[in-house]
């Protein structure tokens, strides 16, 4: 629902803007610590966002549903965070407008934790972005989402080993059913404390 409201705002407030999104305003709200959600299109970022914040961002089965940045609040073990859901990005080197918006957000807002959500079935296409986030020195947690579909496709992932190889925390989830969300929250708060 958030994104629909956003669209109305876009229509009513920005109708006479200059047609340029480079100036997307990314304001600090309440100075809360931030969790940024990034990843390829259609890997479940918005579902993770909804789970963390209790909001209802529209979720669809096609890439590119989130064209704007959605924001919400999450309370994890008593600490409040601002959660920021970004449009999909394939690479840290942007090609489309939405990728530019997503990266600009990482550059300007400097979130405390960056949650990279991936479709576990296609790790070989997803991990290049993880490597780039690590290379950029950003605080990444890798979220292996869609574990159920991965398992039923007959793919098994050695998570401990991947964690040592990549040197970042990894959490497997099935966002649509909520599986692994508690573990994810725990890792986020651990990471934010360090």
């Amino acid at each position: 629902m958030v994104s629909w409201r956003k669209i109305i705002n876009t229509i009513s407030l920005g109708a006479f803007g200059d047609g340029c999104h480079e100036k997307v305003k990314l304001t600090d709200r309440d100075g809360l610590r931030k969790i940024g959600i990034v990843g390829n299109p259609n890997v479940g970022k918005s579902v993770i966002f909804n789970n963390l914040t209790g909001a209802h961002v529209t979720v669809s089965n096609y890439p590119g549903t989130t064209v704007d940045v959605a924001r919400g609040k999450a309370k994890i073990e008593g600490s409040e965070f601002e959660v920021v859901d970004t449009p999909g990005m394939y690479s840290f080197l942007p090609i489309t407008e939405e990728e530019r918006v997503a990266r600009l957000l990482l550059l300007t807002e400097e979130p405390e934790v960056i949650l990279h959500v991936v479709d576990t079935r296609n790790l070989e296409r997803m991990l290049p972005l993880t490597l780039q986030l690590i290379e950029a020195g950003l605080p990444v947690i890798l979220n292996l989402n869609m574990m159920d579909e991965t398992e039923s496709a007959g793919v098994t992932v050695d998570i401990d080993k991947l964690e040592t190889e990549l040197t970042v925390p990894i959490v497997p989830t099935v966002a649509t059913s909520g599986r692994g969300m508690d573990a994810l929250r725990k890792r986020i708060i651990e990471y934010a404390r360090n």
Binding site: L93, L106, G154, V168
Partner: protein
């Protein structure tokens, strides 16, 4: 947590040495590691280049000099070399991490998925989806059965007489009574158009659209249509804004952001403004034309032709290269009822939030116009144009409605049609013209914002006379051929 040295991807010699010399020269604050800034500079990232130029006044020159040196070592762009190295690294890591049980039997979903993207079976499936989803469910059920019930029973027999009764007893002045229950009354026109005609149509469309989008059909449709779209300067990526446009062109114009090039975004915006009817408009038009197969076919044919022709000409006229196309194809999934209902609900809520005030303003505006005689003047300007394309003069009022909202205009036609004032060839001509006719106010606002004032005005100035020209041509051809519908 123990300090772990974080993972680093090692690139080819010349790239590595360039990275370290650039990193040493960087002084500014970028929010990311210097190594990454250097990597992005090597890949000619415009945004980062701008930032570096701003922050590194004296060192910028030296940094700039490094780039051509590194480039000269390779036959491919550096972004390609860097991406390949990274992919190699990922593959090495994954080798020892992932195990796949061989599952050659992919089952029904895989079979269906292929059938959807195959040119032959894909077209058959597409027609099936259009026929059952759009025509039967939205057109016949939503715009026919539901609209009939709500309009003639709920409003016609219950609400309108009841409200008129109240108005007659408590409002002493005829003029003020008309504001609520007259020809252009808030209740009898504004509210009843919005709820009796638009709501059932948009509601049924959003249900179908939510089911289709959750099933994963749209990306497959994109793959199927990619080749046709290439001819009009678009890629399969344009399918999503286009299909969404059948729901609401305003939203769809916002979604053009997912497209790669400015050229593609302009062509899509133009086609959305011109040839993609939104759900409310589509439903009403399906409803008034569905009585006659020929009328409907002519309308579909003309709109499709205009879509392809204008797209083709625009892709020749607007400079820039054709897009490349790459899209994730998600698995086919059975849509979840709860998600479909939530989405339909939130879309309807959004739609109504936007639409209802417009209808009410329009009612007041028309009532005022009627009262002051302005309405007659504007209608008299439109009349010659409307008559020129072979329509009865009364139809000009529907076009006036169309200025406010596309669907409002179509709803005006619906009224004329049920009153028997608009049938046969003129009905088809009117439907064609009002479909192509100017985008609604909200869509125009979004066009201004997304494409800039020049492009938005250029598109509108093109669409407006073009719609009437096509209407004129269709009328001319049909009457010359002596077609009786």
């Amino acid at each position: 947590m123990p300090e772990i040295k974080s993972l680093q991807t090692d690139y080819d010699g010349p790239i590595e040495s360039a990275l370290s010399s650039i990193s040493k020269l960087l002084r500014g604050h970028y929010g990311i590691s210097k190594r990454m800034v250097a990597l992005l500079l090597l890949q000619e990232d415009a945004e980062i280049e701008r930032q570096v130029k701003e922050q590194e006044d004296e060192n910028y020159k030296s940094i700039q000099n490094i780039l051509p040196e590194v480039k000269s070592n390779y036959g491919h762009p550096l972004s390609y070399i860097i991406a390949m190295t990274r992919q190699q690294k990922v593959n090495n890591v994954l080798d020892s991490v992932i195990a796949t049980r061989d599952k050659s039997d992919k089952g029904f979903a895989e079979l269906l998925s292929r059938a959807m993207m195959n040119p032959l079976s894909g077209i058959i499936i597409l027609f099936g989806v259009l026929y059952f989803g759009l025509y039967q469910f939205v057109g016949v059920f939503g715009a026919g059965t539901l609209v009939d019930f709500i309009e003639s029973i709920v409003f016609g027999e219950w609400i309108n007489p009841w409200v008129s009764g109240i108005a007659n007893t408590i409002i002493p002045f005829q003029i003020l009574r008309d504001l609520f229950v007259g020809e252009y009354g808030l209740v009898t026109l504004g509210l009843s158009y919005a709820i009796a005609i638009i709501l059932p149509i948009v509601g049924t469309f959003f249900i179908i659209f939510s089911i289709i989008e959750d099933s994963g059909y749209l990306p497959r449709l994109a793959m199927l249509i990619d080749r046709i779209f290439k001819a009009i300067g678009l890629s399969g990526r344009a399918v999503i804004p286009m299909v969404l446009g059948f729901g609401c062109d305003t939203m769809a114009t916002i979604v053009t952001r997912t497209q790669e090039t400015r050229r593609e975004r302009i062509i899509t915006t133009l086609l959305l403004a011109l040839a993609i009817p939104c759900s409310a408009q589509l439903g009403v038009i399906l409803a008034i034309l569905s009585g006659d197969g020929w009328s409907l076919s002519i309308w579909v044919g003309v709109i499709t032709l205009v879509f392809l022709l204008v797209g083709f000409v625009a892709s020749k006229a607007i400079p820039g290269r054709g897009p490349s196309f790459y899209m994730e194809v998600p698995p086919l999934r059975l849509p979840k009822l709860s998600n479909v209902l939530t989405k339909t609900y939130s879309r309807l809520q959004w739609y109504f939030f936007e639409v209802l005030p417009f209808f009410l303003y329009a009612s007041v505006f028309l009532w005022l116009g009627d009262l002051t005689g302005v309405l007659d003047i504007i209608t008299s300007w439109l009349e010659p144009v409307v008559v020129l394309i072979g329509l009865p003069p009364e139809a000009s009022i529907a076009f006036l409605y169309g200025f406010f909202r596309r669907d409002f205009g179509a709803a005006g036609l619906y009224d004329l049609n049920t009153a028997g004032a608009l049938v046969g060839v003129p009905l088809v001509v009117a439907a064609v013209t009002i479909t192509l006719f100017i985008p609604c106010i909200a869509q125009f606002g979004v066009m201004l914002k997304e494409r800039g004032i020049k492009t938005a005005i250029a598109i509108t100035l093109f669409v407006f006379p073009f719609a009437f020209a096509v209407g004129y041509l269709v009328n001319l051809i049909l009457t010359t051929l002596g077609v009786a519908l």
